[in-house]
């Protein structure tokens, strides 16, 4: 499907929102405004945005510990996210979940996930709902290369095939699970080959190229929505930063880090759309300015916002009604 100018603007806005949001998270973390730890999505923007671009609010995604980008790509409110990450009462989960547990049921976002391999089985269930209710919708499970080695992932892949559900498994291969290389931890010659051996198609896509990811996702959607069962993508990405904000990364050479930055998906998108005279630099700069203002407002509001009140919130929502 051809993308209109508005579509292209939406894609860039989404990718740049992730970029600006995560860079702000880095800054706020350094300033002590973000408790705990944060895994940012910098470098992988094109993967999440390409996958989510043609999903509606009632298509579902399940995410990972590196979930901010998936949330933004799925349309979760940036201010609600920032407040959540800062542990504030106005956060999207009331400050109870934090960075690794952002969820928004209204946006089909079934949660970031702090358990590696937590999302794939959940996505199979969400896809089962779509199949049984004949909604024509899909459920996507984002996983990393590291998560591709988890037993829960293997079980989910197999069960999705057996049940024939519209699940799409997206493996974002950024080359590392924490500090250990995927080439070491994935025993099979290729991640995608192993996924295919479960009995579903798996495409390998350049995860730094929004257009390539979106097109592959189009084929996945076509397949899943037409009752042909699950589909998988391996999006090959670069992780710009360490595993978490503050990771000194002695296990990566400066040269590798520079190469990762050189493959940046955002300038690449810009060059493609301006080169083809679809959008101008001014169009894109205007988007950046707008987004930066939104992120700025979210961060400033986040720092000023109150934390939840233990007397009211600590024991609330364990069950529907806490006695």
């Amino acid at each position: 499907m051809q993308l209109s100018r508005d579509d292209l603007k939406r894609a860039y806005r989404s990718m740049f929102t992730i970029r600006a949001f995560e860079e702000r998270v880095e800054k706020e973390f350094a300033e002590g405004n973000i408790p705990g730890f944060a895994h940012v999505y910098l470098g992988q923007e094109a993967s999440g945005v390409g996958v989510c671009f043609d999903l509606a609010d009632d298509d579902y995604i399940g995410s990972t510990h590196r979930g901010h980008g998936h949330c933004i790509a799925k349309g979760v409110d940036v201010k609600g996210m920032m407040l959540e990450i800062m542990g504030k009462a106005g956060g999207i989960c009331g400050g109870k979940g934090g960075s690794m547990h952002i969820a928004d049921m209204n946006k089909g976002m079934l949660g970031a996930n702090a358990i590696v391999g937590g999302s794939p089985p959940i996505a199979v269930g969400a896809a089962l709902t779509q199949k049984l209710n004949k909604t024509g919708k899909v459920a996507v499970a984002f996983s990393g290369d590291g998560a591709s080695n988890q037993g829960t992932t293997f079980e989910a892949l197999n069960m999705a095939v057996v049940l024939g559900v519209p699940a799409i498994f997206v493996f974002e291969n950024n080359g590392y699970g924490e500090h250990t290389a995927a080439s070491y931890a994935v025993g099979a010659p290729s991640l995608a080959e192993r996924v295919r051996s479960f009995g579903l198609p798996c495409e390998v896509v350049d995860g730094m190229d929004f257009f390539a990811v979106r097109e592959a996702m189009g084929r996945a959607l076509e397949h899943a929505r037409n009752g042909k069962g699950p589909y998988a993508l391996e999006t090959v990405c670069k992780r710009f930063l360490g595993h978490f904000v503050g990771d000194p990364q002695a296990y990566r050479t400066p040269q590798e880090l520079a190469e990762a930055r050189a493959a940046d998906a955002l300038p690449r998108f810009r060059a493609a759309v301006t080169g083809a005279s679809l959008l101008t630099d001014e169009d894109l700069d205007a988007i950046e300015a707008e987004v930066l203002a939104i992120v700025e407002e979210a961060a400033v509001a986040g720092v000023a916002a109150p934390m939840p009140d233990p007397d009211r919130d600590l024991t609330r929502d364990v069950y529907l009604k806490y006695a």
Partner: protein, 336 residues
């Protein structure tokens, strides 16, 4: 003897046991770190640095990274233990045992008994535990009650650097499976730790502070908080005894009953939701076997029956504090 942190004590225990016994191996996610990366391999040594330097000292046949596959890590460690190795398997955060709990409670814990005493499973599962790090619901639990409830497992919760080293050496030399819960909150705690190897036996409580008025039982990261409460009580001339059982299984029941016989009042502090906790367990023990010693109802200071919340305001209210322990002790003391 020299001053070391809790973290250093753990590292030293493993290093010395690996030097002593070639059957001891270390496996887990990023226990070496950096395998097949572009930079320096082996430089990570677990996410808090507990296994730092071991890969470089002992090499890839003794210290190895695994894929993110907890069921296989724990199951393989169990199989290796059954057949002659003495593995130390790491679960990065104890919360992740959910992924591999079958291997722990149906397999490893039961081998010896199910096999009629023919098998030995000399295995240590090290895992970091505890809240207070703003690490949210899936990286902050303690889960010791879950393990303690399983016959066949031994469960260790060291509260200081000296115990961390001695209990870990005991765990490595023990022929039963041991769950060793490293208290995240205490990694930076310093104390006197002998340079040579030594053991702290399981099932022997430490009297962390003597007193005659009220007994405070606490485990792991709650021990320093109980000691702080005892200190505050002492300002008013109230003598609290702080008892640290060190292991929840085996549990030094005699030490608890003897202390309550002396003081007549009991507060149990437990970093856990209250249902099926050590607080409930020990209250049950004393109600059953120490009833005549009691001069006041038993007080339990626990977390609420909730997951661990992320927001600092909520997490601070979630954890037992020394102020809450002190208040419970005062309530027990005021009862007549």
């Amino acid at each position: 003897m020299s001053r070391k942190t809790y973290l250093q004590a753990i590292n030293e225990a493993v290093r010395q046991e690996m030097q002593r016994d070639p059957r001891v191996i270390v496996l887990g996610e990023d226990v070496a770190g950096g395998q097949q990366s572009s930079g320096e391999p082996g430089g990570v040594g677990s996410v808090f640095g507990q296994m730092k330097g071991l890969f470089n000292e002992f090499g890839p046949d003794r210290v190895f990274d695994t894929p993110i596959s907890e069921s296989a890590i724990i199951g393989a460690a169990g199989g290796a233990a059954l057949t002659g190795l003495r593995p130390i398997a790491e679960i990065m955060f104890v919360d992740f045992v959910g992924v591999c709990f079958d291997q722990i409670y149906n397999q490893i814990a039961k081998f010896r008994y199910m096999f009629g005493g023919h098998a030995k499973t000399p295995l240590v599962i090290r895992a970091t535990a505890g809240a207070g790090f703003r690490a949210a619901a899936q990286h902050s639990q303690t889960l010791h009650p879950l393990f303690t409830a399983v016959p066949g497992l031994k469960v260790v919760m060291p509260s200081n650097p000296y115990d961390a080293k001695g209990l870990l050496i005991q765990a490595i030399r023990d022929d039963d499976p041991v769950i060793f819960l490293e208290q995240k909150f205490l990694f930076g705690m310093e104390g006197e730790v002998p340079d040579e190897a030594y053991r702290v036996p399981f099932g022997e409580a430490n009297v962390a502070r003597e007193g005659r008025d009220v007994t405070l039982v606490a485990f792991g990261a709650m021990v320093p908080r109980a000691l702080a409460a005892a200190e505050a009580l002492a300002k008013d001339g109230l003598q609290a005894e702080v008892l640290d059982p060190r292991t929840t299984s085996p549990l030094d029941e005699d030490a608890i009953l003897e202390s309550v016989e002396k003081t007549g009042r009991l507060v149990v502090v437990d970093e856990s939701p209250p249902r099926c906790s050590m607080a409930g367990d020990i209250a049950g023990l004393v109600a059953d076997q120490g009833f005549r010693s009691l001069k006041a109802p038993i007080k339990r200071v626990t977390c609420p029956h909730t997951p661990v919340p992320f927001a600092p305001s909520l997490e601070d209210a979630y954890l037992p504090t020394s102020a809450r322990i002190e208040a419970a002790a005062r309530a027990a003391l005021a009862y007549s």
